[in-house]
């Protein structure tokens, strides 16, 4: 990639020469959205390889799996939020709540009615659960949107945050769990959460999802990559199978949202974001369109909740659905530049890998090479007057440092690059090419 860009740099005419090598790289990558995303993933994989190279292929592939999974789920969430915020300017900071609604509804619908296995459910098939999850997220979104969209953006933010917290507190509540059990015969599991239905991808590899009895397909995959061949564990391979599904969803979301954006609907959204009165005066029913886009976005968030947390074995309201989750997604969108779908995918990947997982991995690696005992507290680390001891403390407590970094990056972006890392990517809002006059039309003069 570096080669390609530097040669491109040399060939470029003087007046188009970008200012620096990084700018050149960005410039080249920008011309191909797919190239940009794949290039970023490649860099991430390279870094993952460097970090875990010594531990063998299984660790390398395992880390890559974790990073890819997180990158893709954040990309999905960012895409859904981008529809609301980037396209229509609706400042929804209740993302976590809508994701929770989606995944919990799915769990309740699909789980076995037998209370012996934890909170009982309706025992319906998974597709019904997914549809129900999206529907409930959409309906709550609708209830929130109908009155709240008349409010100013900062009020909408507070209302959506409040709704997200109300959802979490209900799911957390054992009283609510009891209430549901008494009235509907289903439960949420309260603070302990609930186990998620088996991932169908697992059935692809294993008969009835049982470890040790692979299907023909599983046999094939395990045979090529598995412990006896390349040495990658079966569970990691199955996870990669799920990642393929996630990737398909990312592509589907992307295509869906691009189509929405590149249509008269997207054009109206853009107009509403810029100037509601103009859209209104040109005959667009602004309120209806805002409600529509809010509801679509919430349904997608419900789906993202299912795809993300539904694959995690167990969900619990705290800490999984704290408002912090919403802010992560926001940071992903802001990094990529709100309004751009490519930016959202890229922002999701960059956030999850570089900002979310990166510091932990790097911190752990650095800690491994420091030969010092960790002081029990910050005050002790300072009082020790020993840089090594302090570093040991810092690398052992890398999580808060990472959040501080996130905060600083957020502020920095708002100060310096409000358009995100890709800069201002204004995407065409039409279903047809607008770059030049169609040849059929008369040429002027």
């Amino acid at each position: 990639m570096t080669d390609a860009s530097s040669s491109g740099d040399r060939d470029a005419p003087a007046d188009e020469r970008p200012e620096s090598a990084t700018a050149a790289l960005l410039d080249a990558a920008k011309r191909s959205d797919l190239g940009l995303v794949l290039g970023t993933l490649l860099v991430v994989y390279l870094a993952a390889t460097v970090l875990t190279f010594a531990d063998g292929l299984n660790s390398v592939v395992g880390l890559m799996r974790t990073l890819t999974f997180l990158g893709l789920v954040y990309a999905l969430a960012a895409l859904a939020l981008n529809l609301q915020w980037g396209y229509a300017g609706l400042f929804n900071i209740g993302v976590a709540g809508f994701m929770a609604l989606g995944v919990y509804t799915m769990g309740i619908v699909v789980r076995s009615p037998d209370p012996a296995f934890g909170p009982p459910g309706f025992g319906l098939p998974l597709p019904v659960g997914i549809a129900a999850g999206m529907l409930v997220a959409a309906v709550v979104g609708l209830l929130a949107a109908l009155p709240a969209l008349r409010l100013k953006a900062d009020y909408l933010a507070i209302v959506t945050l409040g709704i997200s917290e109300i959802v979490r507190l209900f799911l957390q509540s054992s009283a609510f769990d009891t209430f549901l059990r008494d009235s509907l015969g289903v439960g949420t599991g309260g603070g302990r959460g609930m186990g998620m239905p088996r991932n169908p991808v697992r059935d692809l590899f294993l008969v009835d999802g049982q470890a040790g009895t692979p299907t023909a397909f599983g046999e094939l995959v395990f045979g090529v990559f598995g412990e006896d061949a390349l040495g990658v564990s079966n569970s990691i391979l199955i996870d990669w199978g799920y990642i393929a599904v996630l990737a398909a969803f990312v592509i589907a979301f992307y295509v869906l949202l691009e189509r929405l954006g590149r249509s008269p609907f997207g054009r109206t959204l853009k107009a509403i974001r810029e100037d509601e009165l103009v859209a209104d005066s040109l005959g667009k029913n602004v309120d209806l369109i805002k409600v529509k886009v809010f509801v679509i976005g919430c349904a997608l968030m419900g789906l993202v909740g299912i795809l993300w947390f539904g694959s995690q074995g167990n969900v619990s309201p705290t800490p999984q659905f704290m408002p912090l989750l919403t802010f992560y997604v926001f940071i992903a969108v802001i990094i990529g530049g709100s309004g751009s779908n490519t930016g959202s995918v890229l922002g999701g990947i960059v956030f999850a890998t570089v900002l979310f997982e990166g510091p932990r991995r790097v911190g752990a690696s650095v800690r491994d090479v420091i030969d010092a005992e960790t002081p029990p507290s910050f005050a002790d680390a300072v009082a020790a007057l020993d840089p090594t001891a302090f570093l040991a403390f810092a690398t052992d407590n890398v999580a808060p440092l990472q959040f501080i970094l996130l905060g600083l990056i957020l502020v920095f972006i708002m100060h310096r690059r409000p358009d995100g890392i890709l800069g201002d990517r204004i995407e065409t809002a039409a279903a047809v090419d607008l770059s030049e006059r169609p040849s059929g039309g008369e040429t002027d003069e």
Binding site: S263, F265, R267, S281, T428
Partner: protein, 300 residues
Amino acid sequence: MSSDVPDASDVADAADEVDAADAITDEPEANDSAVEEAAKHVPSGAPPLRVEGLVKRFGGVTAVDGASFEVEQGSLTGLIGPNGAGKSTTFNCITGVHEPTAGSVYFKGEDVTGLEPYRMARKGLVRTFQIARELSEMTVLENLMLAPKGQLGESAIRAVTPGLRGDVVEQEEAIRERAWETLDFFEIDHLATEHAGNLSGGQRKLLEMARALMTDPEVVLLDEPLAGVNPTLEEKLLDRIHQLREDGYTFLLVEHDMDVIMNNCEHVIVMHQGSVLAEGTGDEIRNDERVIEAYLGEDV
């Protein structure tokens, strides 16, 4: 270049698409506009716009105080008055931005008092803004393509469903063509792919009017279309307004440049302190003592 007015025949294709769209689309309002669309071709005795006893109060301040007037079919009517006479508030009450405290607004004989701006636009009454409100992050072409009524692709489902998107694309092509023709007409076709935020003040005014026309209106309310426009462009804009009038559009024009009003409008309405002070031709108005007093101030 000859007069490439995007008149009814030029936009027939697009208009047909629009009618077809109205029949299918799920929004009830669109059906109204389909009805209106049909009614448009039937000559009706009622004036396109009539305002009766319009009153608008904000708290204790009465901005419009019983204004009544009519705008005739196919006319270019001027609305003038000193600052604070209530012109803008009247405009906002007609277009539905404000709900009048009292009084009525009739569009082609139908009581449309208090309808939201988008419903007024769908009925065929569109307005421009005193300070041009271009959508600066959209290109000039996108600005224009936003406006037409009954776009199939404004339904989210149609916009994304593979089988239905074909119709959307087809209609988009027709709208694009019509947008280009409108740009030609206003001689801003060279700016089509420019972001509207990069336009000069005068060009923005042209864009506003072009965009308003893309809604296929019957009555166009122009709020100071010439403010901040240089003389060359001013002439061009006025010329376009006259051409469009001949094609059957009706204009109500608020403008502070008296010469423009006197030389271009066959009928002038003067507002003062929230109500209509005088009506007549430019010469009648110019020599009306009450008007002179309203403009120069009263003896106190």
